[in-house]
């Protein structure tokens, strides 16, 4: 896949370019350059390992926001069969930044909802950069309730910079739409799995994120405030976003250590955007395992465990 390198990836891209040149030279001039080629290949592997195994929080944020990263509908397409999209909140309209519908995961009926971003300007206008209006949260709730009615498991794919902070969103009570989902998701009598696949932007992410299992892709982030927003407050300058990202502890590994999420889903080396097929395959395997575990738990116990899971969050004394 053609991708623009992120800053920290430039050395890798440069080596990969050298490798291509060398191979071309070797074949066109018919010179044996195998040892040089092997050296560069080894160096590429080493550099990749060094770079991607030691990503900073801010580098992961950049990967999470990468325009070639698989989005909600990419995972729906690759992990599920027979996706049947359903539209609208039955009141105001259909929010295209929050698609959803029935889907089949190897025979397990599901309702899938999630925020969807666009890859170009036209798509992003349609998808509102993955920032849903109240209609999106209300549509998601409607579909989830329907899933509950018919015994379909709920899968929420989270990828949003935040709920949309616009005039219409405020007029139609976006805060209430999110709050209502938080309360209602706690009482749904079907298994719920939420997966942060890219950006987990604050209340807009949590608005479909109350679940029996909360999983995160390796390079996703989940935060109460964007690193830029935090930097603007703490350092009075958005340039300090990298430090803020570190301080806020927003990476999948951090959140696993803090016991906020249940599992980190590994991504292909270099990030999910480098290999949609492999990223989707891993996500599917992990999701199936969790759904199978949850399906084995009685519904009363499931709801009790879901309550306790969120009940224990917070650190204090006294």
């Amino acid at each position: 896949m053609n991708t623009e390198p992120l800053d920290f990836e430039k050395p890798i891209f440069e080596l990969e370019r050298q490798l291509v040149d060398l191979r071309e030279l070797s074949s066109s001039k018919n010179i044996d350059m195998d040892s040089e080629i092997r050296k560069i290949e080894e160096k590429i592997t080493r550099t990749k390992e060094q770079t991607y195994r030691n990503l900073t929080a801010w580098q992961r944020v950049q990967i999470a926001r990468h325009p070639q990263r698989p989005y909600t509908l990419d995972y729906v397409d690759r992990c599920f069969d027979d996706f049947l999209e359903l539209h609208g909140d039955r009141h105001i309209g259909d929010d295209q930044s929050m698609p959803g519908g029935f889907a089949d995961l190897e025979g397990r009926r599901c309702v899938v909802v999630g925020q969807q971003k666009g890859r170009n300007t036209k798509d992003n206008l349609l998808r509102n950069f993955g920032s849903a209006h109240p209609e999106g949260y209300r549509k998601a709730l409607r579909l989830m309730r329907m899933g509950e009615k018919f015994g379909a498991a709920i899968v929420a794919l989270i990828d949003t910079p935040g709920a949309y902070p616009g005039i219409g969103a405020e007029e139609r009570n976006i805060a209430e739409a999110i709050a209502f989902n938080l309360r209602e998701m706690m009482t749904m009598r079907v298994p719920i799995v939420a997966i942060v696949i890219g950006e987990g932007g604050s209340g807009g992410a949590l608005g479909i994120g109350v679940a029996d299992r909360v999983l995160m892709l390796e390079n996703a982030y989940y935060s109460v405030i964007s690193p830029e927003g935090c930097a603007a407050i703490l350092w009075k300058d958005r340039k300090h976003a990298p430090e803020a990202a570190n301080t806020l502890r927003i990476t999948a590994t951090d959140l696993k250590e803090l016991d906020i999420i249940d599992e980190v889903i590994p991504e292909p080396l270099g990030g999910a955007h480098r290999d949609h097929v492999a990223a989707s395959a891993t996500l599917k395997t992990v999701l199936r395992r969790h759904l199978a575990e949850l399906d084995a738990i009685g519904l009363d116990e499931l709801l009790q465990l879901r309550y306790e899971k969120f009940r224990k969050f917070g650190k204090f004394k006294g």
Partner: protein, 306 residues
């Protein structure tokens, strides 16, 4: 666009920002169309000591502390509702002598290793005499049992961290156990940034407790006061069976500055005021402080089965 979007998720309390447009000080009636200012709500170094004179930020009327306290901190000239500290508000709504505080000892810890966080908490504890941004407890309202919680904006913008979330949750759980009404007075800048994801999760925790209270068919009255924003608005504050608001208080999800930067549009008149939010269907009723106790009693009477 990009810049504003990055801020889209910044529903956290922002210290020292959020003042509205220039105040109209000549025509009090115009105040209806202005967003109330957050200025002067938090503690400042040059705060006047208690017992002196207070200037109304809406009409400029000067009132003496004693008068103002007697009038439940409402301006005698323009009805502006000054911010109220938790103890005064409890006195205003609970039947006399019935309030018993619970969970008074809960204290913040530095869950994430956030620079200077605990020093900040300590300084607010010293300035306000409070341990945290909310006071909770059992009380009676109109003779009926209730568990109440009152947020105090002076304490770090009454942002919701682990302690606020835990106290709200325990209050709701207690009410569920004792089959009591919940009454929560909100005033908050939103989630507490210094506790990162832990503060975000308080939204789910408090809402989850309300789910059980709701399923038990027990009454919950949420009262929004100036200002109710961010993560608190997007959780327990807007889940009331009935949502009341004090006149002209600010109610919103994103701050007005963020909305303006994101949309590049002029904000409509009265945007995010209680009146605006009632017109748009969020608020059941705007209640003057003089009528708050009576309104709560009437509601609880209607909502109680016995």
């Amino acid at each position: 666009m990009k810049k504003a979007f990055a801020e889209a998720s910044s529903h956290a309390y922002i210290e020292g920002t959020g003042s509205g447009p220039p105040r109209n000080t000549t025509f009090p009636i115009m105040a209806l169309f202005k967003r109330p200012s957050l200025k002067g709500l938090g503690l400042k170094k040059n705060d006047m000591p208690e017992g002196l004179w207070h200037k109304c930020p809406e009409c400029g009327q000067i009132s003496h502390e004693v008068d103002l306290k007697q009038r439940k901190r409402v301006c005698q000239k323009c009805d502006h509702h000054f911010t109220m500290i938790a103890s005064e508000r409890i006195e205003m709504i609970a039947d006399p002598g019935t309030f018993q505080e619970i969970d008074a000892g809960l204290d913040s810890v530095d869950g994430l290793g956030f620079k200077n966080y605990l020093e900040k908490v300590k300084s607010y504890q010293q300035k306000t005499g409070l341990k945290e941004a909310i006071v909770t407890g059992r009380a009676k309202i109109g003779g009926r049992p209730a568990v109440i919680g009152v947020m105090d904006f002076r304490f770090l913008g009454a942002s919701m961290g682990s302690v606020v979330g835990e106290k709200v949750t325990r209050a709701i759980e207690l009410a569920t156990d004792e089959k009591a009404t919940v009454v929560l007075f909100s005033a908050s800048g939103g989630a507490r940034m210094h506790e990162g994801i832990l503060s975000l999760m308080q939204m789910a925790k408090t809402s989850g407790a309300l789910a059980r209270h709701h399923l038990a068919r027990l009454p919950y009255i949420s009262v929004l006061t100036h200002p109710t924003t961010g993560g608190v608005t997007a959780s327990f504050s807007t889940l009331g069976d009935v949502i009341l608001a004090e006149p002209r208080c600010m109610i919103g999800f994103a701050g007005p500055r963020v909305v303006k930067e994101t949309t590049h549009q002029n904000l409509p008149p009265g945007f995010q005021t209680a009146e605006f939010m009632m017109e748009h269907g969020l608020v059941d009723r705007i209640v003057h402080r003089e009528e708050m106790r009576e309104t709560l009693s009437r509601l609880i009477r209607y909502m109680s089965r016995a």
